[in-house]
């Protein structure tokens, strides 16, 4: 038995969040619609408190709860990242929801539960806890996508997401059972040990790996497991898209790291095309190509950003497959930055949407610079960061990945990535062009709350801050990866 009361201290972030969820759920019952903002405030407070618990907690590497829960620096960093991105997503959602009579406690409770699921994934020590965290996340997301019950596209998207998600998690589970069959253990460290000893059946392992990898690829939305992404991004209410398009990427990264690097590291980059490096190369190249090319012809900006996400996933995969401390830390940096960028991009769309009007087509952004120069400037920073234009942080995120690739003797992949990024730059520039050079269709001023304005400013300026001081975040990522 390795359990004693002090173990619970290590689980404190999850415990704090779950308790807060329970309290919010009950308190929300007794609140009038007019006092719903209290739920909102409490949810933000819950996130902040959880973040404090993560930051103050011990993060020296250790494994507790019979191998089910891992404490390490990477976990702490990723948790802080997903909590902060979650805070942004919540803040952007308030006015949008209340404009549409959707300002209900369930939104925040489901969001918090999704975050709880992601935190469980991030610090999962075994396939079992990882899978359960994933299901917790997925279930909450399905419900969030269908949150606007009156929206047909929303319900349709949720249905698709649910069925495909179930299929993917079925495959994941099947793969896990294969790996269990080959190694006889479920915790990551144990699996790694068995693989290193060479006793596991290589064919069965690879077979399981393929299925597990599909689970990861689905969560990320990599081609060809990306089909849900455009439909769900477009169908869901934009605030849900902001949440779903950003935070889960961090959890998916953790999932990839825990499974691929920590437990299946033996099938990693040293194996070349025999191991998961080869699989990721295929998925990454497909994602880069399809994401960037198809985004070119989209007019719906939510859909465009969905395809852009797919291409960014390609980049994250490139970092993962380059392997080594350099590749992993570059991928981690990229993921965190991408989540922050994406939440800003969708958040801005939420801010621009008014009662009864969804800002979701490219022409809804027309002449934004005339209507609100500050918001336009923030969008500029965010879009530049997505495109990887210096001095925004997106440039460095891409640079670190390319550097890792070159270091891993995968120069050709780096060239492929650059080629498709250049194609990608075009549709980002289209957004910029529309914002700055087109005439606005309506002169209506943009009504944004103070909190949303503040959040989008912090969010946009962060692109610049980390672009000028990329080392501040990169060093954190490197230290976290080195401590694995």
């Amino acid at each position: 038995m390795d359990f004693n009361a002090s173990t619970l201290l290590l689980l404190l972030p999850e415990i704090v969040l779950l308790s807060a969820i329970a309290v919010i759920l009950v308190l929300d019952l007794f609140l009038d619609q007019s006092k719903r903002v209290f739920t909102y405030g409490m949810s933000l407070a819950a996130l902040v408190a959880t973040m404090a618990a993560v930051m103050l907690g011990d993060n020296t590497s250790q494994v507790v709860m019979h191998g089910a829960y891992v404490v390490d620096a990477m976990g702490s960093v990723l948790k802080v990242a997903l909590l902060s991105v979650g805070i942004f997503a919540f803040i952007y959602s308030r006015r949008y929801l209340s404009d549409r009579n959707l300002f209900k406690g369930e939104f925040y409770v489901l969001g918090l539960l999704a975050i709880l699921g992601m935190m469980i994934m991030v610090s999962a020590g075994s396939f079992l806890s990882l899978y359960l965290g994933l299901e917790l996340l997925a279930l909450s997301l399905y419900a969030l996508v269908a949150f606007d019950g009156d929206s047909k596209p929303g319900s349709e998207a949720a249905m698709k997401y649910f069925v495909l998600g179930a299929l993917a998690s079925g495959m994941l589970l099947y793969g896990i059972s294969m790996i269990y069959g080959a190694t006889g253990v479920l915790d990551f460290a144990g699996v790694a040990k068995v693989i290193a000893s060479g006793q596991a059946d290589q064919t069965v392992l690879t077979f399981g790996l393929v299925f597990v990898l599909i689970g990861i690829a689905f969560k990320f939305g990599a081609v060809p497991f990306h089909m849900w992404v455009p439909d769900v991004y477009q169908g869901a209410p934009v605030v849900v898209t902001a949440f779903l398009g950003s935070v889960p990427k961090i959890a998916a990264f953790a999932m990839a790291m825990r499974i691929l690097a920590e437990s299946m590291g033996g099938l990693g980059p040293e194996m070349g095309w025999q191991g998961w490096q080869g699989m990721l190369i295929i998925l990454a190249v497909l994602s880069l190509a399809l994401g960037n090319i198809v985004a070119l012809v989209q007019d719906n900006i939510k859909r465009m950003l969905a395809y852009s996400t797919i291409s960014h996933v390609g980049f994250i995969f490139l970092g993962l497959l380059a392997g080594g401390d350099k590749g992993y830390s570059a991928a981690m940096f990229y993921t965190i930055i991408y989540a922050l960028t994406a939440v800003g991009g969708f958040g801005l769309l939420a801010i621009l949407s008014r009662k009864g009007v969804e800002a979701e087509n490219l022409h809804d952004l027309k002449g934004l610079n005339k209507r609100s120069p500050w918001l336009a400037a923030m969008m500029l920073l965010i879009v530049f960061s997505m495109a990887g234009v210096p001095p925004t942080v997106g440039f460095f995120a891409k640079l670190f990945i390319l550097d890792a690739l070159v270091n891993a003797d995968l120069l050709w992949l780096a060239l492929v990535a650059v080629f498709f990024s250049v194609i990608g730059a075009f549709y980002y520039l289209r957004i910029i062009k529309v914002i700055y050079f087109d005439k606005p269709e309506s002169e209506e001023p943009i009504a944004a709350n103070v909190d949303a304005r503040l959040a989008i400013s912090v969010n946009g300026l962060a692109m610049l801050y980390y672009g000028i001081f990329p080392a501040s975040l990169l060093a954190v990522c490197q230290a976290a990866i080195a401590a694995l």
């Binding site: 069925v163 495909l164 599909i214 089909m227 849900w228 025999q274 080869g278 699989m279 012809v297």
Partner: protein
């Protein structure tokens, strides 16, 4: 030490803060707000610079060399933001902030009725910040950052009148020519990073002597001395920024910018960045005699031939611009002769008197209602007393009249080059000596044509000619003071004393200034010695010729012009550099461009790549749209097919 660090930081950031406030909140703070906030920022900066100067030079504060922020570490190559403050830096920041402050104040009067007033102030404060970052840097990366930043502001300001076609052309030219220089510069820095694995000055300089013998092969089997390659690459950067032949062509055109900018950026500070950089990297240059010879010859050539062009120019600002080119040539020649201290000394005196001349020219331009042709002027001394006197003082300083600041610095340079033993030193010496005559000739040609004689030609102009307002004349007076006196006070410590001890590195074989110092006793001695030498008499001759030809007998000028028509036309065309560039580089690239456009673009890129890729993007997107049908079972089958594919590839195969 901590106190000093804070002071350095405030010193650098104050102009930036001013710039940001004036730039971002231009509508909120208005015109007055913009000039007050930027003048305050630069003023604070100047006061702190003066304090720093006092601390370092008078009180002998220790050299400050610290990294403030690690920007990133890539493969062991550390990139920092850091300050290196020694006597050289202290002198530079004081000069920069002083001239900048004067220009800020002057601008209030000069730009009073122009559009983009706040924008202008924001730019010049931003320039000040960038220049301070450049000179205070303790590593090559930050140097490059400052280098590019001052360049950027310079382009922005040359194109300030962006509605004027010529301004846009000039700005483009400056940009392109500087790219050539910067290309060399960045290659040089890359070479340093590659061979030293460090960008820190101190580390590079201490490791440099060990690498003196190293050679590299650039192509084929020919071996090149590493130091020569690095130094020449760095110097190419300096040639771009400090406008040395043949990369000088942008500077005369940069006069399209507003006059305060010409004074601040294109005369006093930015263009001297190249001089500063070479002096800063003297430990490297001292290791390559080839590079020094190259520097010396380029400098001397620029000094003489650019001066000649100055004689035939009629635009008042262009005369001063060619004079700047020529004086920069003197500084560069000093560097080539290893007389770094003399080069820097001339940099400092030149900063004051050239800023003065430019601002005086600006004052004249205000008086003449933006008519810049000196043939239309004349007799202005009756209308603009202060401008007249200060311009006279500036001109005397420029030609090196004994006792004025320019005399000390220029004489020191000429003598030092005379002592130099390296290849090309004799050629350089004679060009520099002859240059003195040319300098005196063009300076006083302009002076006489503007302030003396009959005129102005336009009778109408007389009615509204009056002295410029105090915001214009006060900076003139303040700049005139150092223009006259600084040489007297600074020559002894800077050239022959300990001022640059430990900063500049001079190999004993190249110690030309030391030779000069052997005969030096005091200022009076230096003056009387100078008055017996050829340069002084050449200067006097130039002055006299200018007086006689342009004031007494203008017919002679016309006679000479018709007699030496070919020479006149050669000079008027500036040796055809512009035409050459236009025809060969611009024309050549246009030709290659057209060729590529016809063959490459139209057929290959347009036909196959663009239209082709547009077509294929269309086809692909169509295909994806077909797959992305919205039907759930299509999506599911795509996933299953993906699974099948991966299984086939990795498991069954």
């Amino acid at each position: 030490m901590e106190d000093m660090k804070t002071i350095y930081l405030i010193l650098v950031l104050a102009p930036l803060a001013g710039s940001v406030i004036a730039g971002l909140f231009r509508n909120q703070i208005g015109k007055a707000g913009a000039h007050w906030v930027t003048i305050l920022g630069v003023g604070v900066s100047f006061l702190l610079s003066a304090y720093v100067f006092w601390q370092h030079v008078m009180n002998g504060a220790p050299v400050f060399n610290e990294n403030l922020y690690t920007w990133m570490v890539v493969d062991g190559l550390e990139m920092h933001v850091g300050f290196l403050v020694d006597n050289l830096t202290a002198m530079m920041i004081t000069v920069v902030t002083f001239v900048s402050l004067m220009v800020h104040i002057y601008t209030v009067g000069y730009m009073a009725h122009e559009d983009g007033y706040q924008r202008f102030f924001s730019y010049i404060s931003l320039f000040t910040f960038s220049m301070l970052m450049l000179v205070m840097s303790n590593n090559f990366l930050q140097l490059f950052f400052g280098w590019e930043a001052v360049g950027l502001v310079s382009y922005l300001l040359i194109g300030f009148y962006y509605k004027r076609e010529t301004a846009i052309f000039a700005n483009m030219k400056a940009f392109l020519v500087n790219r050539v220089g910067d290309f060399g510069f960045i290659l040089g820095i890359a070479a340093i990073a590659m061979y030293f694995n460090s960008l820190d000055y101190a580390q590079v300089f201490s490791a440099a002597p060990d690498k003196a013998g190293e050679t590299i092969s650039i192509w084929g089997d020919s071996q090149w001395s590493l130091m020569t390659v690095i130094c020449i690459l760095l110097f190419i950067g300096a040639m771009g920024k400090s406008a040395q032949m043949p990369l000088h062509v942008w500077l005369p055109d940069s006069m399209e910018g507003p006059t305060p900018i010409s004074a601040l950026i294109h005369a006093a500070t930015m263009v001297t960045a190249g001089i500063f950089m070479v002096a800063r990297t003297s430990p490297l240059f001292e290791l390559s005699e080839t590079a020094l010879s190259f520097v010396l010859i380029i400098g001397a050539t620029t000094a003489f031939f650019m001066g000649l062009i100055g004689i035939v120019q009629n635009d008042i600002k262009r005369v001063v611009a060619y004079s700047t080119l020529s004086q920069l040539g003197y500084m560069v020649a000093a560097l080539g002769a290893s007389a770094y201290a003399a080069g820097l000394f001339h940099l400092m005196t030149h900063a004051f008197f050239k800023a003065l001349l430019f601002l005086a020219a600006g004052s004249v331009i205000i008086g003449m209602h933006h008519n810049q042709d000196i043939r239309n002027m004349g007799g202005l001394r009756k209308y603009m007393k202060i401008t007249w006197i200060t311009a006279l003082l500036g001109s005397l300083a420029l030609i090196g009249f004994p006792g004025f600041s320019g005399f000390f610095s220029k004489d020191a340079i000429i003598e030092a080059v005379g002592y130099s033993q390296i290849t090309g030193a004799t050629y350089a010496h004679w060009l520099l000596v002859a240059g003195v005559f040319v300098t005196a000739l063009y300076s006083f040609r302009m002076y006489f044509l503007v302030f003396h004689g009959k005129g102005p030609r336009d009778e109408h102009a007389k009615d509204h000619l009056k002295e410029s307002p105090a915001v214009v004349t006060v900076p003139l007076i303040l700049l005139a003071i150092p223009s006259v006196f600084i040489g007297w006070f600074a020559i002894e410590p800077m050239l022959f004393g300990d001022f640059f001890k430990g900063v500049l590195h001079v190999a004993s074989a190249h110690d030309t200034l030391g030779e000069v110092g052997k005969t030096y006793h005091d200022q009076i001695g230096f003056i009387s010695h100078g008055m017996m030498m050829l340069p002084f008499w050449l200067a006097m001759a130039g002055l006299a010729v200018a007086w006689y030809v342009y004031l007494m007998k203008p017919s002679i000028a016309d006679g000479i012009r018709s007699r030496f028509d070919w020479l006149y036309r050669l000079l008027d065309r500036k040796y055809g550099f512009d035409e050459f560039n236009q025809a060969v580089f611009a024309g050549g690239s246009l030709f290659i461009g057209r060729l590529l456009w016809n063959v490459g673009d139209k057929t290959v890129i347009d036909g196959i790549a663009v239209n082709g890729s547009a077509r294929s993007v269309g086809v692909l997107a169509q295909a994806v749209r077909w797959v992305q049908s919205g039907y759930l079972y299509h999506y599911a089958i795509a996933m299953i097919l993906g699974l099948l594919g991966l299984l086939f590839w990795f498991v069954v195969r």
